[in-house]
Protein backbone atom coordinates (compact mmCIF):
# COMPACT_ATOMS: atom_id res chain seq x y z
CA UNK A 1 0.00 0.00 0.00
CA UNK A 2 2.96 2.34 0.34
CA UNK A 3 3.08 3.09 -3.37
CA UNK A 4 -0.64 3.81 -3.29
CA UNK A 5 -0.18 6.32 -0.52
CA UNK A 6 2.60 7.95 -2.50
CA UNK A 7 0.22 8.17 -5.45
CA UNK A 8 -2.34 9.79 -3.24
CA UNK A 9 0.19 12.36 -2.06
CA UNK A 10 0.60 13.56 -5.65
CA UNK A 11 -3.10 14.00 -6.08
CA UNK A 12 -4.90 17.29 -6.43
CA UNK A 13 -8.51 16.29 -6.26
CA UNK A 14 -9.71 19.86 -6.61
CA UNK A 15 -8.21 20.02 -10.07
CA UNK A 16 -9.67 16.64 -10.94
CA UNK A 17 -13.14 17.69 -9.83
CA UNK A 18 -12.86 20.95 -11.72
CA UNK A 19 -12.57 18.83 -14.85
CA UNK A 20 -8.95 19.62 -15.66
CA UNK A 21 -7.86 17.09 -18.23
CA UNK A 22 -4.23 16.83 -17.06
CA UNK A 23 -5.34 16.26 -13.46
CA UNK A 24 -7.80 13.59 -14.56
CA UNK A 25 -5.12 11.83 -16.56
CA UNK A 26 -2.84 11.85 -13.53
CA UNK A 27 -5.65 10.52 -11.34
CA UNK A 28 -6.22 7.71 -13.83
CA UNK A 29 -2.50 6.92 -13.97
CA UNK A 30 -2.32 6.82 -10.19
CA UNK A 31 -5.32 4.60 -9.58
CA UNK A 32 -5.97 2.43 -12.63
CA UNK A 33 -3.78 -0.29 -11.15
CA UNK A 34 -5.45 -0.09 -7.75
CA UNK A 35 -8.93 -0.29 -9.25
CA UNK A 36 -7.94 -3.17 -11.48
CA UNK A 37 -6.54 -5.02 -8.48
CA UNK A 38 -9.71 -4.48 -6.46
CA UNK A 39 -12.02 -5.42 -9.32
CA UNK A 40 -10.15 -8.61 -10.23
CA UNK A 41 -10.09 -9.74 -6.60
CA UNK A 42 -13.78 -9.01 -6.19
CA UNK A 43 -14.67 -10.81 -9.40
CA UNK A 44 -12.55 -13.76 -8.30
CA UNK A 45 -14.50 -13.91 -5.04
CA UNK A 46 -17.99 -13.42 -6.45
CA UNK A 47 -18.11 -14.56 -10.07
CA UNK A 48 -17.88 -18.14 -11.26
CA UNK A 49 -16.02 -17.07 -14.33
CA UNK A 50 -14.54 -13.80 -15.43
CA UNK A 51 -12.08 -12.61 -17.98
CA UNK A 52 -9.55 -9.82 -18.17
CA UNK A 53 -11.99 -8.06 -20.50
CA UNK A 54 -14.70 -8.23 -17.83
CA UNK A 55 -12.35 -6.65 -15.32
CA UNK A 56 -11.37 -3.90 -17.74
CA UNK A 57 -15.03 -3.10 -18.37
CA UNK A 58 -15.80 -2.93 -14.67
CA UNK A 59 -12.86 -0.61 -14.00
CA UNK A 60 -14.05 1.66 -16.79
CA UNK A 61 -17.49 1.67 -15.18
CA UNK A 62 -15.94 2.67 -11.86
CA UNK A 63 -14.19 5.62 -13.51
CA UNK A 64 -17.46 6.61 -15.15
CA UNK A 65 -19.25 6.45 -11.81
CA UNK A 66 -16.66 8.75 -10.31
CA UNK A 67 -17.15 11.46 -12.93
CA UNK A 68 -20.88 11.10 -13.56
CA UNK A 69 -23.09 14.09 -12.73
CA UNK A 70 -20.19 16.49 -12.38
CA UNK A 71 -18.11 14.14 -10.21
CA UNK A 72 -20.94 13.62 -7.74
CA UNK A 73 -19.48 10.43 -6.32
CA UNK A 74 -15.89 11.66 -6.23
CA UNK A 75 -17.04 14.79 -4.40
CA UNK A 76 -18.28 12.63 -1.52
CA UNK A 77 -14.68 11.64 -0.74
CA UNK A 78 -13.40 13.39 2.38
CA UNK A 79 -9.59 13.30 2.70
CA UNK A 80 -9.87 14.05 6.41
CA UNK A 81 -11.63 10.75 7.02
CA UNK A 82 -9.74 8.16 4.97
CA UNK A 83 -7.08 7.69 2.33
CA UNK A 84 -8.20 7.94 -1.26
CA UNK A 85 -6.86 4.42 -1.87
CA UNK A 86 -9.07 2.92 0.83
CA UNK A 87 -12.11 4.86 -0.30
CA UNK A 88 -11.58 3.83 -3.92
CA UNK A 89 -11.22 0.24 -2.79
CA UNK A 90 -14.62 0.39 -1.09
CA UNK A 91 -16.21 2.08 -4.11
CA UNK A 92 -14.67 -0.30 -6.65
CA UNK A 93 -15.67 -3.42 -4.74
CA UNK A 94 -19.23 -2.13 -4.36
CA UNK A 95 -19.42 -1.21 -8.03
CA UNK A 96 -18.21 -4.65 -9.04
CA UNK A 97 -20.84 -6.35 -6.93
CA UNK A 98 -23.51 -4.00 -8.25
CA UNK A 99 -22.57 -4.91 -11.79
CA UNK A 100 -22.69 -8.61 -10.98
CA UNK A 101 -26.21 -8.07 -9.70
CA UNK A 102 -27.46 -6.80 -13.03
CA UNK A 103 -29.73 -9.36 -14.70
CA UNK A 104 -27.35 -9.99 -17.58
CA UNK A 105 -24.60 -10.90 -15.11
CA UNK A 106 -26.47 -12.99 -12.59
CA UNK A 107 -26.19 -16.35 -14.27
CA UNK A 108 -22.42 -16.10 -14.04
CA UNK A 109 -22.25 -15.36 -10.37
CA UNK A 110 -21.60 -17.98 -7.77
CA UNK A 111 -22.06 -16.03 -4.65
CA UNK A 112 -24.46 -13.13 -4.31
CA UNK A 113 -25.68 -15.21 -1.46
CA UNK A 114 -28.28 -14.48 1.12
CA UNK A 115 -25.84 -12.33 2.99
CA UNK A 116 -25.27 -10.06 0.05
CA UNK A 117 -28.87 -10.16 -1.02
CA UNK A 118 -30.24 -9.34 2.38
CA UNK A 119 -31.24 -5.87 3.28
CA UNK A 120 -29.87 -4.52 6.48
CA UNK A 121 -32.00 -4.46 9.60
CA UNK A 122 -29.61 -2.53 11.73
CA UNK A 123 -29.13 1.17 11.37
CA UNK A 124 -25.67 2.68 11.43
CA UNK A 125 -27.03 6.17 11.83
CA UNK A 126 -30.25 7.10 13.56
CA UNK A 127 -31.65 5.45 16.62
CA UNK A 128 -31.35 1.79 17.50
CA UNK A 129 -34.29 -0.30 16.45
CA UNK A 130 -33.93 -3.24 18.81
CA UNK A 131 -36.02 -6.33 18.14
CA UNK A 132 -38.55 -6.94 20.92
CA UNK A 133 -38.17 -9.80 23.35
CA UNK A 134 -34.49 -10.46 22.74
CA UNK A 135 -32.73 -8.35 25.33
CA UNK A 136 -33.41 -7.81 28.99
CA UNK A 137 -34.65 -4.35 29.88
CA UNK A 138 -31.28 -3.56 31.41
CA UNK A 139 -29.33 -4.71 28.34
CA UNK A 140 -31.54 -2.66 26.02
CA UNK A 141 -31.21 0.35 28.29
CA UNK A 142 -27.43 0.11 28.20
CA UNK A 143 -27.27 -0.18 24.42
CA UNK A 144 -29.54 2.85 24.06
CA UNK A 145 -27.45 4.88 26.45
CA UNK A 146 -24.26 3.89 24.64
CA UNK A 147 -25.46 4.26 21.08
CA UNK A 148 -28.51 6.51 21.03
CA UNK A 149 -27.36 8.90 23.70
CA UNK A 150 -23.66 8.65 22.82
CA UNK A 151 -22.64 8.06 26.42
CA UNK A 152 -19.42 6.24 27.08
CA UNK A 153 -19.10 3.26 29.41
CA UNK A 154 -18.01 5.39 32.37
CA UNK A 155 -20.94 7.75 31.92
CA UNK A 156 -23.39 4.87 31.71
CA UNK A 157 -21.87 3.24 34.79
CA UNK A 158 -22.19 6.49 36.70
CA UNK A 159 -25.78 7.04 35.64
CA UNK A 160 -26.79 3.51 36.59
CA UNK A 161 -24.58 3.37 39.67
CA UNK A 162 -22.86 0.19 38.63
CA UNK A 163 -19.27 -0.72 37.83
CA UNK A 164 -17.94 0.04 34.35
CA UNK A 165 -17.14 -3.65 33.99
CA UNK A 166 -20.81 -4.45 34.56
CA UNK A 167 -21.75 -2.14 31.71
CA UNK A 168 -19.17 -3.75 29.44
CA UNK A 169 -20.40 -7.20 30.38
CA UNK A 170 -24.07 -6.36 29.78
CA UNK A 171 -23.19 -4.72 26.46
CA UNK A 172 -21.24 -7.81 25.43
CA UNK A 173 -24.10 -10.11 26.42
CA UNK A 174 -26.57 -7.92 24.54
CA UNK A 175 -24.52 -7.97 21.37
CA UNK A 176 -24.12 -11.75 21.58
CA UNK A 177 -27.89 -12.12 21.88
CA UNK A 178 -28.50 -9.77 18.97
CA UNK A 179 -25.90 -11.51 16.83
CA UNK A 180 -27.63 -14.81 17.52
CA UNK A 181 -30.99 -13.24 16.70
CA UNK A 182 -29.73 -11.77 13.41
CA UNK A 183 -27.82 -14.92 12.51
CA UNK A 184 -24.42 -13.27 12.53
CA UNK A 185 -21.50 -15.60 13.13
CA UNK A 186 -17.78 -15.10 13.51
CA UNK A 187 -15.81 -12.16 14.76
CA UNK A 188 -15.83 -8.67 13.37
Amino acid sequence: MNSLRANAADLDLGRVISGEKAAWDQFVENFAGLLYGVVTRTLRAHAATHSTEDAKDVVQDVFLRLVKDDFRLLRTYDPQRASIATWLTVVARSATIDLLRRPESRRDTVELDDTLSAGCDVFFGGRLDLPPGILSERQAQILRMLFDEDMDVTEVAGALRVQAQTVRSLKHQAILKLREHFGVSGGV
Binding site: K21, W24, L34, A45, S94, V122, F124, F147, L178, V184
Partner: protein, 93 residues
Protein backbone atom coordinates in the same frame (compact mmCIF):
# COMPACT_ATOMS: atom_id res chain seq x y z
CA UNK B 1 -16.04 16.66 -19.80
CA UNK B 2 -17.49 13.23 -19.16
CA UNK B 3 -18.65 11.28 -22.16
CA UNK B 4 -20.64 8.10 -22.36
CA UNK B 5 -23.63 8.54 -20.14
CA UNK B 6 -24.78 4.97 -20.57
CA UNK B 7 -22.40 3.13 -18.33
CA UNK B 8 -22.07 4.25 -14.77
CA UNK B 9 -25.76 4.80 -14.25
CA UNK B 10 -27.49 3.61 -11.09
CA UNK B 11 -24.72 4.96 -8.95
CA UNK B 12 -24.98 3.52 -5.48
CA UNK B 13 -25.61 5.84 -2.59
CA UNK B 14 -22.25 7.49 -1.95
CA UNK B 15 -20.47 4.44 -3.30
CA UNK B 16 -22.16 1.98 -1.00
CA UNK B 17 -24.12 -0.98 -2.28
CA UNK B 18 -27.20 0.03 -4.18
CA UNK B 19 -29.14 -2.64 -2.36
CA UNK B 20 -27.98 -1.53 1.06
CA UNK B 21 -30.64 -0.28 3.37
CA UNK B 22 -30.47 3.38 4.25
CA UNK B 23 -29.11 2.45 7.64
CA UNK B 24 -25.89 0.88 6.41
CA UNK B 25 -22.71 2.94 6.46
CA UNK B 26 -21.73 4.59 3.18
CA UNK B 27 -18.40 4.16 1.42
CA UNK B 28 -16.81 7.06 3.27
CA UNK B 29 -17.76 5.65 6.66
CA UNK B 30 -16.49 2.19 5.72
CA UNK B 31 -13.22 3.68 4.50
CA UNK B 32 -12.84 5.71 7.69
CA UNK B 33 -13.40 2.57 9.74
CA UNK B 34 -10.89 0.59 7.67
CA UNK B 35 -8.32 3.38 8.01
CA UNK B 36 -9.03 3.60 11.74
CA UNK B 37 -9.72 7.33 11.68
CA UNK B 38 -13.07 7.26 13.46
CA UNK B 39 -13.40 8.74 16.90
CA UNK B 40 -14.22 6.34 19.72
CA UNK B 41 -17.98 6.85 19.63
CA UNK B 42 -18.26 6.61 15.87
CA UNK B 43 -16.12 3.48 15.94
CA UNK B 44 -18.26 1.92 18.69
CA UNK B 45 -21.37 2.65 16.67
CA UNK B 46 -19.80 1.07 13.60
CA UNK B 47 -18.73 -1.99 15.53
CA UNK B 48 -22.24 -2.45 16.88
CA UNK B 49 -23.55 -2.21 13.35
CA UNK B 50 -21.00 -4.74 12.11
CA UNK B 51 -21.85 -7.08 14.95
CA UNK B 52 -25.47 -7.08 13.87
CA UNK B 53 -25.36 -6.65 10.10
CA UNK B 54 -24.00 -9.74 8.30
CA UNK B 55 -23.77 -7.95 4.98
CA UNK B 56 -21.63 -5.11 6.25
CA UNK B 57 -19.53 -7.46 8.39
CA UNK B 58 -18.81 -9.48 5.29
CA UNK B 59 -18.05 -6.35 3.30
CA UNK B 60 -15.51 -5.22 5.89
CA UNK B 61 -13.86 -8.64 6.10
CA UNK B 62 -13.48 -8.82 2.33
CA UNK B 63 -12.28 -5.26 2.09
CA UNK B 64 -9.62 -5.91 4.71
CA UNK B 65 -8.45 -8.90 2.75
CA UNK B 66 -8.34 -6.94 -0.51
CA UNK B 67 -6.46 -4.07 1.12
CA UNK B 68 -3.93 -6.52 2.53
CA UNK B 69 -3.40 -8.13 -0.86
CA UNK B 70 -3.10 -4.96 -2.92
CA UNK B 71 0.40 -4.22 -4.04
CA UNK B 72 1.67 -7.65 -3.01
CA UNK B 73 1.34 -9.47 -6.31
CA UNK B 74 2.07 -8.81 -9.95
CA UNK B 75 -0.75 -7.15 -11.81
CA UNK B 76 -1.41 -7.33 -15.52
CA UNK B 77 0.57 -4.31 -16.72
CA UNK B 78 -0.79 -4.39 -20.24
CA UNK B 79 -4.37 -4.51 -18.98
CA UNK B 80 -3.72 -1.56 -16.68
CA UNK B 81 -2.18 0.42 -19.51
CA UNK B 82 -5.22 -0.25 -21.67
CA UNK B 83 -7.59 0.64 -18.83
CA UNK B 84 -5.79 3.92 -18.23
CA UNK B 85 -5.82 4.81 -21.89
CA UNK B 86 -9.56 4.19 -22.09
CA UNK B 87 -10.37 5.98 -18.84
CA UNK B 88 -8.43 9.08 -19.82
CA UNK B 89 -10.82 9.50 -22.74
CA UNK B 90 -13.74 9.97 -20.36
CA UNK B 91 -12.61 13.55 -20.01
CA UNK B 92 -11.75 14.83 -23.41
CA UNK B 93 -10.43 18.33 -23.01
Amino acid sequence: MPKDGEAGKDIPRDGAHSEAAAGCPDAMALAAYLDNTMDAKEKARMELHLALCPKCAKDVAELREILTQLGTGPEDASAITEIASRAKKIIDK
